[in-house]
């Protein structure tokens, strides 16, 4: 009965731990997807303009100066065409997309909206942010004179796929046809994004043949900071990782991960203590049997193994039941917890690798929990144990 109860206890602990892990992992993955869905993992751009001193200070003198920082102008990354194949050759980088980005106005009839103009090569940009998967209306195409708009911007300008509007930057303007509307996951982005062919943006922003940014997508999003550091060391450009651009989000994700770790640690400790307490009672209750086995020639090692195996079996059984319970709870969560649009809040699941890891940890915990009771069982004086 005790064993059944502790197996159920372990199962509850494992289910709770697995469910929390799956929820937090699903939530983080969903947040990351939304955040990184519209931005590169690493962005490379030309260094900022800085004010150079008029003359070097004379050695031995101290110069106190107050310098007005320079206004930043739109600059191209020097020799970016040669840089792209170099970057594509790096193992960590999965895709490179050159971009010309600047500010402009979108006009249609009486409506005027300030917009962020993004000039891209559609296929490359699609590899970086998965643009085609974000299309909500029309078909994404960027032939000369074509554009893709954020959904809210199109709404503000009264545009649908196939309609035309004008983009104006400084003294230049161009009439563009809308081929598709996209949802970039953030309303503010949807309200100001106009995506045009690279060459059109170069013309509109007076940057012929240039690229203001190189957007990089990585095979593993979590190495972005290392890649950015490497690029800064290798090239005279500014390289920023998505973590640097979203420091608050990263802090929040880290805090979540730490709190999940703490919860899992506490659950593990409870599981270990639960198994240990049951085995301690079991050793006390089975003293006579242990004495008999010792009298019949069981070694201390054999007696120890009996309890270690019992701990492992309790851990393994509990984890199997717990994982089944976790799967059921996840299914219930997905089924019943829904957003205002009736769709699941985010997708969660229990990957096989995680399940295996949880089962392994619970089994190891069972063995660890059994060490102290097993040692006390092995140390029992058989003569005294039989007399009890």
């Amino acid at each position: 009965m005790q064993t059944v109860l502790i197996v159920v206890g372990v199962a509850a602990g494992v289910a709770g731990g697995a469910l929390i892990s799956a929820l937090i992992s699903g939530l983080q993955s969903n947040t990351l997807n939304k955040t990184l869905g519209a931005q590169a993992h690493v962005t490379l751009q030309a260094p900022d303009d800085v004010v150079a001193p008029a003359a070097l200070p004379v050695p031995g003198t101290t110069v106190l100066s107050q310098t007005q920082p320079r206004a930043q102008r739109l600059r191209s990354i020097a020799n970016w065409q040669a840089l792209v194949p170099l970057l594509e050759g790096m193992d960590e980088i999965a895709g490179v997309s050159p971009m010309v980005s600047g500010a402009g106005l979108a006009l249609r009839g009486e409506a005027v909206q300030s917009v962020a103009l993004l000039g891209v090569d559609l296929d490359r940009y699609d590899r970086v942010v998965g643009l085609r998967s974000k299309v909500v209306s029309g078909v994404a195409r960027l032939a000369p004179g074509e554009s893709v708009l954020g959904r809210e911007l199109a709404q503000d300008l009264g545009l649908r796929a196939g309609d035309r509007f004008t983009v104006q930057t400084g003294t230049r303007s161009e009439s563009l046809r809308v081929t598709a509307l996209v949802d970039l996951g953030v309303k503010d982005l949807n309200r100001r994004t106009v995506i045009v062919p690279l060459r059109a943006a170069q013309n509109l922003l007076a940057l012929p043949g240039g690229a203001t940014h190189l957007e990089l997508t990585l095979r593993d999003v979590w190495v972005a900071q290392d890649v950015a550091r490497t690029l800064r060391a290798q090239f005279p450009y500014q390289a920023e990782s998505w973590q640097e651009n979203n420091a608050q989000l990263v802090s929040a994700l880290n805090a979540q991960s730490i709190s999940t770790g703490i919860i899992r640690g506490v659950v593990l400790a409870v599981v270990v203590l639960g198994i240990a307490s049951v085995l301690v009672v079991s050793v006390v209750q089975k003293q006579r049997e242990i004495g008999i086995l010792r009298a019949m020639g069981a070694t201390r090692g054999q007696v120890m193994r009996v309890f270690l195996v019992q701990g492992a079996v309790v851990g393994a059984l509990g984890s199997v039941l717990g994982l089944a319970l976790a799967v059921a709870l996840i299914a219930m969560f997905t089924r019943f917890v829904r957003g205002s649009d009736g769709l699941p809040l985010f997708s969660i699941g229990l990957p096989a690798a995680t399940a295996l890891q949880v089962a392994l940890i619970a089994t190891v915990c069972g063995v660890v929990a059994a060490i102290a009771p097993a040692r006390s069982a092995a140390r029992l004086d058989p003569a005294q144990a039989i007399r009890i």
């Binding site: 006579r288 049997e289 004495g291 008999i292 086995l293 010792r294 009298a295 019949m296 020639g297 069981a298 070694t299 201390r300 054999q302 004086d381 058989p382 003569a383 039989i386 007399r387």
Partner: protein
């Protein structure tokens, strides 16, 4: 390890003492210089009043406890200073135990309980060992109860399973601590008769602690322990009647 000479007794105790709580105010000496020799094939009764040290002596003989001083030779081998692991192996192959309470493992069948000592030895029960266990259960009259759990057997039957278990590895000596103490008169007689039959058929030595003078009278030799010393040691006869058992 000294090889046993044919003339060596199976058990040879010389000046064995046993003290508990050494160095504490409650220190007590339970055995005071016990000398005892048991030859192969003997059927010995060990009697004595409660607290005379019978169980302690049996535990020392069974390598479950170590004597405080003196020499204990089992099959010619001095065992006093052997490490615990060696004593365990020696116990497994040389000694069988029958306790007052059968001490069968409740989760196992009669057959599984009998094969347990074999399992302790090799980690698995071979076909030959299982066959021997079946033969022993058959010999103790439990051919039809091999698959029954202890709870399904009467007290006498359980004790017969325990006797089969003690004999399964064919030890030269079986130590029995009041094997009939928990049985009614009829079962007690049956179990004792069984012990005698096993002794006669297999030549196994038995050393039986008992309070029952009537059963002790059926043994070949009687050793009486009083206050931690051997008070009498000789063939069973008129001695039994005068034995102090309370």
């Amino acid at each position: 390890m000294a090889a046993q000479s044919p003339t060596d007794p199976l058990i040879a105790l010389a000046a064995i003492t046993k003290r508990y709580n050494v160095g504490r105010p409650s220190e007590a000496e339970v055995l005071h210089g016990v000398d005892l020799r048991v030859r192969a094939g003997e059927f010995v009764a060990l009697m004595g009043p409660s607290g005379s040290g019978k169980s302690t002596l049996l535990n020392i003989l069974g390598l479950l406890e170590r004597a405080s001083s003196g020499e204990y030779r089992l099959q010619g081998q001095a065992v006093q200073s052997l490490p615990d692991a060696t004593l365990t192996l020696l116990r497994r192959h040389t000694l069988g135990f029958v306790f007052q309470f059968h001490h069968l493992l409740p989760a196992f069948s009669a057959l599984e309980n009998v094969t347990l000592p074999a399992l302790m030895g090799t980690g698995r029960v071979g076909r030959a060992q299982e066959e021997r266990a079946r033969q022993l259960l058959d010999a103790v009259g439990l051919a039809g109860a091999m698959d029954k759990r202890p709870a399904e057997l009467s007290g006498g039957m359980q004790q017969r399973v325990a006797i089969a278990r003690a004999l399964v590895l064919d030890p030269p000596l079986v130590l029995a601590d009041e094997p009939t103490g928990n049985l009614d008169t009829a079962s007690s007689g049956e179990v004792f008769a069984l012990l005698r039959r096993m002794h006669a058929e297999r030549g196994t030595s038995f050393l039986i602690v008992t309070h029952d003078a009537r059963l002790a009278a059926q043994c070949d030799r009687l050793v009486e322990l009083v206050d931690g010393r051997i008070a009498r040691d000789g063939p069973v006869g008129p001695a039994v009647a005068g034995c102090s058992t309370k």
